[in-house]
Assembly symmetry: C2
Homo-oligomer: 156 residues x 2
DNA sequence: TGCATTTCGGATAAACTTGTATTTTTCCGG
DNA sequence: CCGGAAAAATACAAGTTTATCCGAAATGCA
């Protein structure tokens, strides 16, 4: 995988949070049930995100978590860096912590090209994008399902 | 990182092995010293690779490890799959083990595009490529160093 | 004020990865 | 056939990630 499971959970949980009516709070329990993430573990992740300012939390009745900023501004990269530490993709896959143009490293150049692809994807995809993509995907899957549940229904 | 440390070590150790005169064996101790990898840990990794047929080992005096197939045929992908398990990049980063066109997953499409980039790089880069790249890089670094050790020597 | 609800934060534990040490097996040379 | 050299195998230790649990603090409501 490209990032840790914690980061994966964080990203997955942010999607339903982005779909929530503005200002409304969601319970950890609900989010855990929706996403299938172990609830205690999810709670800790959400706490981290709240500490970082990505989420806002309130205790007590009608409490829970909600986004603390527009979903457009929350990129996957930001979440991955929050959970896995910044610089996860900084070092060269060849090993050396300091790998630059002046160090003999067999992998450096190829990796740098790939790395920028990864950064573009993670940095260019926001929670809003994910929520939108999920909505569209749901519609497509639903409409396919309606005309027969066998795989690749309709004319092949 | 994109793959485990074990995979990284395996790839790094294969490069000096590819540069060895054909048929000659290298000691674990030597490889460990050259690459800076903990020698006992490296030994285990090399044993795994030998079991897989990538390397050939012999015990006793004048023993050690050598490649068991042309370096052109050993791709980074093969090594990563050997060390981290096949299918490391199979699942969607959205989580679901089974993520395909019929499952609603917000990340699926973007990830698939990125994934194929990763696979192209790892699958398209062989140990021979790495050894060659390292040789060229060494020459460049050396020639730069010769005319002054400050970074970005020559006209900027 | 007192109670129910819900996050917060720390403690704990299980699982996996990484690293080290030790012993056993195999091979070569004399 | 014996002794040393080297990988092979095994066991063990430390560190990190993932997961679980529980008491405490905060909040809203009656």
């Amino acid at each position: 995988m490209i990032y840790s499971r914690s980061a994966e959970y964080a990203i997955r949980a942010l999607i339903p949070l982005a779909q929530l009516p503005t200002g409304e709070f969601a319970l950890v329990k609900t989010l855990a049930a929706e996403t299938g993430i172990p609830s205690h573990f999810l709670a800790k992740i959400l706490q981290d995100l709240a500490r970082l300012g990505v989420l806002k939390s309130t205790k007590g009745p009608h409490g829970g978590f909600r986004l603390n900023q527009p979903p457009k501004e929350i990129t996957m990269l930001r979440i991955v860096e929050a959970m896995d530490g910044a610089g996860r993709y900084d070092g060269c896959i060849g090993g050396g912590a300091e790998c630059n143009d002046r160090v003999a490293c067999a992998m450096h150049d190829g990796w740098m090209a790939l790395r920028s692809r990864i950064m573009d994807y993670l940095g260019g995809t926001s929670v809003a994008d994910l929520a939108k993509a999920l909505g569209e995907k749901r519609r497509v899957v639903a409409s396919r399902g309606r005309r027969g549940s066998r795989k690749s229904a309709g004319r092949a």
